[in-house]
């Protein structure tokens, strides 16, 4: 797909001496870019009779699409669920800082909050394209308040709600206008959830199941009504049971609408999920895995007390708890660490790990034509992984300019594995 008329005259960049992630494989191919989009060089050669204007030698690096994080509550001291007057600059700060983790597009996530907070905050987080200034905002992910009391996890009990009275009208009354919303997490066992799910889906909003005690039957009904995602699989839901697998059973359910499969988020920070559980889920349904950070405002801040929604959290090393308890409340592992941890824990190949953080979230959000891939016509948002010493994932914008990056996590075993893999 060519860019618009205006890009036909734009400079053609050719990244060479690299391997690119395309079609589930790392191919020894050059990547051609024009006007911020990935270009088909064969078409350029035979139809426009043109060659590249500029050649960039990548020194044997791997080029991958930017990561997409569909569940991130804040970071660097910014809490998206805080009703501030200038939410926009907080979002911008996070957007800029997560580039260093390889995240080039994200869904700012709001946890269970009172209606005033939603109505103040939502209008301040519009969908916004990314660039060298920061990752793009794809839409807000609303996690709660229509969730289960028993499985609320870190969400404040006082602000939980139901929509059994007026179904979708209750949803609108709580959140206000949904223009900037791209995903809602809810518990399908709540009364009238099928009609709410259908109403949300009809507006192009993805529905995710989470913080729920639903059995498999209720979960399947929710998927038949239009739900397509599971929020942090295993966490805040009933454990898998062999006679009622619960929400986890959706991974292998035979009752899903034909041609559809379920996507499921996993926090692979080494804390929220045991590696064996990660492997079971991945092996059962590799195409549906979406890596998320579920990062809290404490991301990037270090040990101590910080705010999350209407609550206080305590950070201790790589773990964040609800202050005064042992309840986990989100992770503080950056996306590139999650990808590397998943790679190591699952023993999968690098291509699968990369797709779980790029292609799959793009598919979940219906954006895979332009995002999460390096296919022709996609937005040229590229991560550059040097080889053989794997460091962090500085993001290249479409001009191939490397944006400033965060210090790498020392992970010697990963270094060895990534050398071997690629």
């Amino acid at each position: 797909m060519r860019g618009g008329q205006g890009t036909a005259g734009a400079r053609v960049l050719r990244f060479t001496n690299c391997r690119i992630l395309r079609g589930g494989a790392l191919l020894r191919e050059d990547l051609w870019v024009r006007g911020g989009r990935v270009l088909d060089p064969e078409k350029l050669f035979f139809e426009e009779r043109r060659v590249a204007d500029e050649l960039r030698d990548c020194g044997g690096c791997i080029l991958a699409p930017g990561f997409i994080d569909v569940q991130i509550n804040g970071g660097f001291g910014v809490d998206f669920s805080q009703a501030a007057d200038d939410v926009g600059s907080g979002v911008d700060l996070v957007a800029q800082r997560i580039l260093a983790h390889g995240v080039t597009a994200f869904c700012p996530t709001l946890v269970t909050s009172p209606p005033e907070v939603y109505q103040k905050v939502l209008p301040q987080i519009p969908v916004k394209p990314g660039g060298p200034h920061g990752a793009g905002v794809l839409g807000v992910h609303l996690e709660g308040p229509f969730i289960s009391r028993e499985k609320r996890g870190a969400h404040p009990e006082d602000h939980l709600r139901s929509f059994e009275a007026r179904a979708f009208q209750d949803v609108l009354a709580t959140y206000g206008p949904l223009d900037n919303v791209c995903m809602v997490t809810l518990a399908p066992e709540l009364s009238r959830s099928p009609e709410v799910i259908r109403a949300l889906t009809a507006r192009g909003i993805r529905v995710s199941l989470g913080h729920s005690v639903a059995d498999l039957r209720a979960a399947e009904e929710a998927v038949q009504s239009g739900a397509t995602f599971i929020t942090h699989l295993f966490n805040a839901m009933l454990p898998f049971h062999h006679r009622d697998p619960g929400i986890v059973g959706l991974l292998t359910s035979d009752r899903l609408p034909p041609g559809h499969h379920i996507f499921y988020g996993m926090i692979s920070d080494g804390i929220h999920t045991n590696p064996a559980a990660l492997r079971i889920a991945h092996r059962a349904h590799p195409q549906g895995l979406v890596l998320v950070t579920d990062a809290v405002p404490a991301l990037g801040l270090g040990n101590g007390r910080h705010t999350l929604g209407q609550q206080e959290v305590e950070v201790d090393g790589l773990t964040a708890y609800v202050a005064g308890t042992r309840t986990l409340c989100g992770s503080i592992s950056p996306m590139d660490v999650c990808v590397r941890h998943f790679l190591q824990a699952s023993g999968c190949n690098l291509e699968s790990a990369l797709e779980a953080a790029s292609l799959h979230p793009a598919q979940l959000l219906g954006l895979e034509k332009h995002k999460g891939t390096l296919d022709f016509g996609a937005d040229a948002v590229i991560l550059y992984k040097s080889h053989p010493t794997p460091v962090s994932w500085p993001a290249l914008d479409a001009r191939g300019v490397r944006v400033p990056h965060w210090r790498p996590h020392p992970s010697p075993w990963l270094r060895h594995r990534l050398c071997g893999a690629g």
Binding site: E42, K43, F45, F46, V51
Partner: protein
């Protein structure tokens, strides 16, 4: 010197190394802005090794295609240009994307042109305007055809539309998931006469399945049922083959030409390089 040379190498890889011949011819020609070297090119599995070697010489800085014009032999009719089995795709993936040729100088027949005969006539005209072909590299089908000049083609034919023989369709099926219904039945091809007009012709053939065709091409008479035999009447043709391709030849023929290898090798040793400023 007007001679037919038969160069026999031990195996496919050594035969492919005779890409050195093409390299030397281009460099000795001293191509430049006012003097382009015109090269005719084939597709198929036989020349793949040869293309790889040419790319290697290019990547080493020994050979540039900046002042080379290419004319491919053929292209399927009705196959989209970006279909993985089109000859445009073949040439892009196996050659053009790895070298520095100007896209305006890479000519391939358009099998989706509105007026196919006009497309063929235009191709002939382009060859003429380029000053004719200096070296036409080709392959040979198991039925002895050159390009898509199937048995029965006129030996003075020009670029035109051809219906493919069943042998060819069967041979091509492996590139279309073994499904005969997916294989194109028509192609645009340069004629035997078109290739005969080239100042020099190099035919690559390897493998036992080509042996009978080689026998018919050089040990029997000129015959339109084995169109490659036409090159017996070309002033400068070189056949490059491996041992297996000689299996149907008389021992005497093979011994004679093997005995000339010391002469043949002078054509490729030394391997020239543009680095020397030749």
């Amino acid at each position: 010197m007007t001679i037919m040379r038969l160069v026999i190498l031990d195996n496919y890889d050594l035969a492919s190394e005779w890409a050195k011949y093409i390299c030397n011819r281009i460099i000795q020609f001293k191509p430049g802005q006012d003097k382009y070297f015109t090269l005719g090119l084939p597709t198929g599995s036989t020349p793949l090794g040869c293309y790889k070697k040419l790319i290697e010489y290019h990547k080493n800085g020994d050979l540039s295609f900046k002042y080379v014009k290419t004319f491919n032999m053929d292209e399927y009719v009705g196959l989209p240009r970006n279909h993985p089995e089109s000859y445009h795709s073949y040439m892009w993936n196996n050659f053009f994307k790895h070298i520095d040729i100007d896209p305006n100088n890479a000519h391939i027949l358009d099998g989706n042109a509105a007026d196919l005969q006009a497309e063929c006539d235009a191709f002939e005209k382009k060859i003429k305007e380029a000053g004719g072909i200096d070296l036409f590299v080709g392959g040979i089908g198991p039925d002895g055809h050159i390009a898509f000049n199937e048995p029965g083609s006129s030996l003075v034919s020009r670029t035109r539309l051809k219906t493919l023989a069943m042998d060819t369709i069967l041979a091509n099926a492996k590139y279309f998931d073994g499904d005969l219904s997916k294989v194109p039945t028509m192609a645009l091809t340069v004629g035997v006469g078109t290739v005969m007009d080239a100042r020099e012709v190099m035919i690559l053939l390897t493998g036992a399945h080509k042996a009978f065709a080689l026998y018919k091409a050089i040990e029997e008479g000129v015959n339109h049922m084995w169109t490659v035999s036409a090159f017996q009447q070309h002033p400068q043709t070189i056949f490059v083959c491996d041992e297996d391709a000689t299996l149907e030849l008389r021992v005497k023929t093979v011994k004679y030409f093997k005995g000339l290898m010391h002469v043949h090798n002078k054509l490729v040793e030394p391997l020239h390089s543009m680095k020397e400023g030749n």
